[in-house]
Symmetry: C2
Subunit: 446 residues, 2 copies
């Protein structure tokens, strides 16, 4: 029994899915929060004694805040710009030319803010970001109170952020230093792909990642041609090159892996790497369907990502959890290939583990940050709710999200953003929309 009023506040809910222990469902319990962290989970009847402030959510379920383990947040400004192109053409004919015309620090700040707003409304409390101008993305996330793993980009090509690999690494490490003591912002190394990265750079990244114990995220084996393209360009496949640099270990976050064959999956499993599954993006860009059931059977950790809004076109991690479960059932012939509790674990704890944050977030456990999402499980879209995890994944969807807390701060309340200026957000989107459209038309006319 906790002491009287030891918590800053308590949230009571009809159900709590703590994710740890796996499959647990608590009824009529409360999460006690103090100093931004989870103090305890107790029966609701004890909440009054433990906290002066009680937030009651009587028809609701509390889950850990969702972890979007792969996105390009600022690309929200390029939403709807993907338009029916397969991955390679989408990148070369549409996205890269658009980025060359549009992307600057303001684009990244405005696009990231829009993405943060969308993600919070959908129950996402942490995102892993891979984009240009990561300083702008980190600043926007921290200002909004959202948790983020911000990528330090390492590219061979110059951009407005850096001229060469030396400068990319230097600026990335400066960013990492800057946020060392910030509870919201983590940093990780991000490569576009092994293909686009030299062996020398892979080795440098490996050394630095080992020193910092920072994750290394890269797109890997996304589309059918990837393996052969690497072999032509580098003499080895992309996974072999990562292995050659010593990067296939538990810091590796390999995004997509749609085309990974059994031998490649075995090596990812042996190294302890994480795969981030982005099922909507993979289908929409005609990359295919990742062999997730096989990955899970082999013991590979699989987290979930939305990818960027330009190829999705939404940052809805609950939709990814549902789609992952559906695709696994439909392609494996096993209707329970990804049970709903597992789908939720992939959307929370597995993402936290991928980003090296599982000691701090990803489940509702004492000592972790109070990163929480709350969904209303009532109404004609959800009634009768006879299985909470199924209802969250297969009936409710993000429209049911009513509240989010990040580090105990109440960022979404009653389905609305509590601390962001939504009118300003809308105005900025309206400013960008015609510029994106004009750029799209200019590129199409080239």
């Amino acid at each position: 029994m906790p002491e009287r009023h030891v918590a800053d506040f308590a949230v009571t809910a009809r159900w709590i899915l703590p994710i740890e222990p796996a499959g647990a469902v608590l009824e009529d319990h409360a999460v006690l929060v103090r100093g931004g962290r989870i103090l305890d989970v107790v029966p609701a009847s004890q909440a009054n004694a433990a906290s002066a402030e009680i937030i009651e959510r009587p028809d609701h379920v509390l889950i850990p805040g969702l972890v979007n383990a792969h996105t390009h947040a600022a690309m929200s400004l390029l939403r709807n710009a993907g338009g029916g192109l397969p991955l390679d053409a989408w990148l070369r004919q549409r996205i890269w030319p658009l980025e060359a015309r549009l992307v600057d620090e303001q684009f990244v700040a405005d696009g990231t803010e829009l993405a943060v707003a969308e993600m919070l409304l959908g129950g996402v409390t942490c995102f892993a970001d891979m984009y240009y101008h990561p300083d702008a993305a980190a600043r926007v996330a921290a200002q909004a109170g959202m948790r983020a793993a911000i990528g330090m980009p390492v590219l061979e090509q110059p951009s407005a952020w850096a001229q060469d690999v030396d400068e990319y690494l230097r600026r990335g490490l400066e960013l990492s230093d800057q946020y060392r003591d910030d509870p919201l912002v983590e940093t990780m190394f991000v490569l576009h792909s092994p293909t686009a990265t030299s062996d020398a750079t892979l080795l440098r990244v490996r050394t630095l990642a080992d020193q910092l114990q920072a994750p290394v995220m890269t797109h890997l084996l996304e589309s059918p041609g990837d393996r052969d393209r690497d072999r032509r360009k580098h003499g080895r496949g992309p996974l072999e090159r990562l292995e050659g640099a010593g990067l296939v270990n538990d810091l590796l976050v390999a995004v997509h892996c749609v085309q990974a064959n059994t031998a490649e999956l075995e090596r990812l499993a042996a190294g302890g790497a994480t795969v981030v599954h982005c099922p909507t993006s993979n289908l929409r860009l005609a990359a295919g369907i990742a062999p997730v059931t096989q990955m899970r059977q082999m013991g590979i950790r699989v987290a979930l990502g939305t990818d960027g809004a330009a190829g999705n076109d939404s940052l809805d991690l609950l939709a990814e959890a549902r789609l992952a479960a559906l695709l696994a059932a439909g392609t494996s012939g096993d209707a329970s290939a990804i049970p709903p509790h597992d789908a939720l674990a992939m959307a929370t704890l597995e993402g936290a583990r991928a980003l090296g944050l599982a000691d701090r977030i990803g489940s509702i456990a004492p000592g972790k940050w109070a990163d929480l999402a709350c969904l209303a499980l009532s109404g004609p879209r959800i009634d009768p709710c006879n299985d909470v995890a199924t209802a969250i994944v297969h009936s409710a969807g993000r429209a049911a999200v009513t509240d989010c807390w990040v580090g105990g701060r109440h960022l979404v309340a009653h389905g609305r953003l509590a601390r962001m200026d939504t009118r300003r957000l809308a105005e900025r989107s309206q400013d960008w929309a015609p510029r994106v459209l004009a750029a799209t038309r200019a590129i199409a006319g080239q």
Copy 2:
């Protein structure tokens, strides 16, 4: 220019997607409604002259109401009861035993009302229903003001509705007669499957369907074993048996067809039959992925259905449209296999055609019933909206639905059910939930 105040009301919207002509997007137009029908579509500037009442939806898109071309509405009370079983086990070990314990006229009335509420909130204005006690379903739909194609079940087994095929047909035809002059309720013949239906019954249904020009809906080639099971039981495959009875024609509505091979698809195409694609159900029950791209290339009309909530677990037709587009792209390698305008046509006009209702609903065209859905295309989930059809299918989802009209009646306004007692709906769900749970547990314990 219409005469002054010729319309009962007008709805102005930033965009209108009439579906006919294909791909059209009208900006700042108004739909004029008189006597429940669409009178005209005019520039918004002319709406004031044409109508005393103007309903303004300035950030919104108007589309034809969605047509859910296959569901078992009353099974909404069995939501979340599917729980990770593949189709055959799901039916035999879970659904059929649950139905034997629970289904009566009240179950069908309450379940259908819940389904109608969910569907209207998601922009669905017409549904094709296949279930027991169709009189109860028809009554509930008509009372709610929703449009429905109600199935006249034809089974070889006795049920509470009828004892033998004679009685099924007699009661079905009585129902059809009863609603002959009702603008909201249509009837069609529904078979569980060719497998479960004798050749003699197939022939009788064919004769009656031809006389009434009524659609004949049946599950067809849903799971891997279906073809062989029919061959063992009847000496021929299910499509051959339908052909033998003369049922493969433009009245046939063949649901699922996940396992149809090229020869079978060619015969469906030659007959002019419609396929109803239920992608979520097919994945969730581990049936597989229907070859929709091939169907469409062969000229087969493909409509969309949610199937019942017991195997989905939601009646969200926009989600089916999105999933259909994603699966077609991901499995065909053609990212534009189902462009967003086509996905919306499948969810509206193709469903109307399947049900023989395309002269009355399915597009925003003068003379058709004013069955309309309105979605708000603004906010952080959707901004910036640079392609309206893409935004509807891939970003907005049913959470953006603000309004529905059926035959000009405003059934959903500002995201809320305007004419249904939602408190009573919730109470009924709460009454049923423990009964369903108890029955589920009793069956599991057998």
